[in-house]
């Protein structure tokens, strides 16, 4: 008898068993889901949202996870690609997959079919803590008037070739 839970629950750490049972739906499937609201708890951020694939499947009012039953859709993963050796991995988009291994395979097919990369990371979207758009001013504006933080602010002394 099959006993494993391959398709039943995502296998990343600490997903509370009841966090997927409230019927919330998310038609967008974008990384907005990872945005942190000040009131958001860790549990909320780890929540798996249902998403309607191609839009052909109704999601409104459909419970995404019957207790003990299969999840209605696969969890979301963020994909990072390293284009060449020596560069950092960059975020390229997201996708759905039942688990990490399949997420990596899907990422290979969706994001590197035209030789875009030499290395791939996939990260459960719910594991990302993001800055909030509401905090943009306090986060980023203070840097705006500090030109001395840019290397171009300084004159390079004569005779120094590689600074």
């Amino acid at each position: 008898m099959p006993t494993s839970t391959w398709l039943v629950r995502p296998r990343w750490p600490d997903v509370p068993a009841d966090s997927t049972s409230n019927g919330t739906t998310n038609g967008g499937g974008t990384s907005d889901q990872a945005t942190t609201d000040p009131a958001t708890t860790d549990q909320d951020r780890l929540q798996v949202h249902s998403e309607g694939g191609h839009g052909a499947v109704p999601t409104a009012g459909v419970p995404i996870h019957e207790p003990g039953g299969p999840a209605r859709d696969w969890p979301l993963w963020e994909v990072f690609v390293r284009a060449r050796r020596g560069l950092s991995h960059s975020h390229v988009g997201s996708l759905h997959a039942p688990d990490a291994t399949m997420a990596l395979r899907n990422a290979r097919d969706v994001y590197t079919r035209r030789q875009e990369g030499v290395s791939l990371w996939v990260v459960p979207a719910g594991m990302i803590t993001a800055s909030s758009p509401d905090e943009k001013d306090s986060f980023f504006d203070p840097a705006a008037d500090k030109v001395y933080r840019h290397p171009t602010f300084y004159d390079v002394p004569e005779g120094v070739d590689h600074l």
Partner: protein, 249 residues
């Protein structure tokens, strides 16, 4: 037709017909990620088919191009195994076929890389990396579906049961295979059966699935004997080219 042309055509037709079946999944697979995965596999197969059909045309020496061979032959002239023309069925049946066929292709191409025929060796050398990925894709899904929920297990097993009568034909060699393999040009398919089974059986065991015991077996595809499905498939694939000969875009 020279034996070598027949051999290339058989392998090319396998790839071409299966690529068409995989293309039928685009927009209707369980997730858009799978549309893309199956579509990619189909495109790899089209690449193999183009090289093999082109080569078959050259060896034949009658001036037929890859397009002539793909679009202007009737079903009795198609030399693919019947396995690849069987309708897709559900996702479980498609994945069952992918496991069977990609494992077969992997064993075949690994050996064909050593062919004394440089074109066949070259096609196999390029394709072997592609089909290793196809096989990996199928095996991962067989594990997840077989060792998943009760329903996924049932449907994965049903998919295997659907495809199994068509398995034996993959390993049936005839005079073409035997004469070419004696010259170390081709690989005798009979030699692939044991390594194929050792690879497939380990996946089935891990996925808690049983080897089906079919009560009949398909044969004849290599001689142009096909199921009724192939005619419909070719009608769709060839319609545009036959309606507008020479059209390009």
């Amino acid at each position: 037709m020279p034996a070598l042309a027949t051999y290339a055509l058989r392998l090319g037709d396998d790839a071409l017909v299966l690529s068409h079946r995989l293309g039928e999944w685009i927009s209707v697979a369980p997730a858009i990620e799978e549309d893309i995965a199956l579509g990619n596999i189909g495109l790899d197969l089209i690449g193999q088919a183009r090289a093999l059909l082109t080569y078959a045309g050259e060896v034949e020496g009658a001036g037929r191009t890859e397009d002539d061979l793909a679009y202007l032959r009737g079903e009795r002239d198609y030399l693919n195994v019947q396995l690849v023309e069987v309708p897709n069925g559900d996702f479980g049946a498609t994945i069952a076929r992918q496991l069977v066929f990609s494992t077969y292709q992997l064993e075949l191409y690994e050996r064909l890389q050593g062919s004394v025929d440089p074109t066949l060796a070259g096609v196999a050398g390029k394709a072997v990396k592609e089909v290793a990925y196809h096989r990996e894709h199928a095996a991962l899904w067989v594990l997840r579906l077989g060792d998943g929920t009760e329903e996924s297990h049932r449907r994965m097993q049903a998919g295997l049961d659907t495809m199994w009568p068509y398995v034996a034909e993959l390993f049936e060699g005839d005079e073409v295979d035997r004469s070419l393999s004696t010259e170390r040009i081709a690989v005798d398919p009979a030699r692939l059966r044991d390594p194929w089974w050792s690879s497939v059986s380990s996946v089935l065991a891990e996925a808690t699935l049983d080897e089906p015991a079919p009560r009949w077996r398909a044969r004849g595809g290599r001689r142009g004997i096909h199921t009724e499905s192939l005619g419909f498939l070719l009608a769709e694939m060839q319609h545009l080219h036959r309606s507008h000969p020479g059209a390009s875009w």
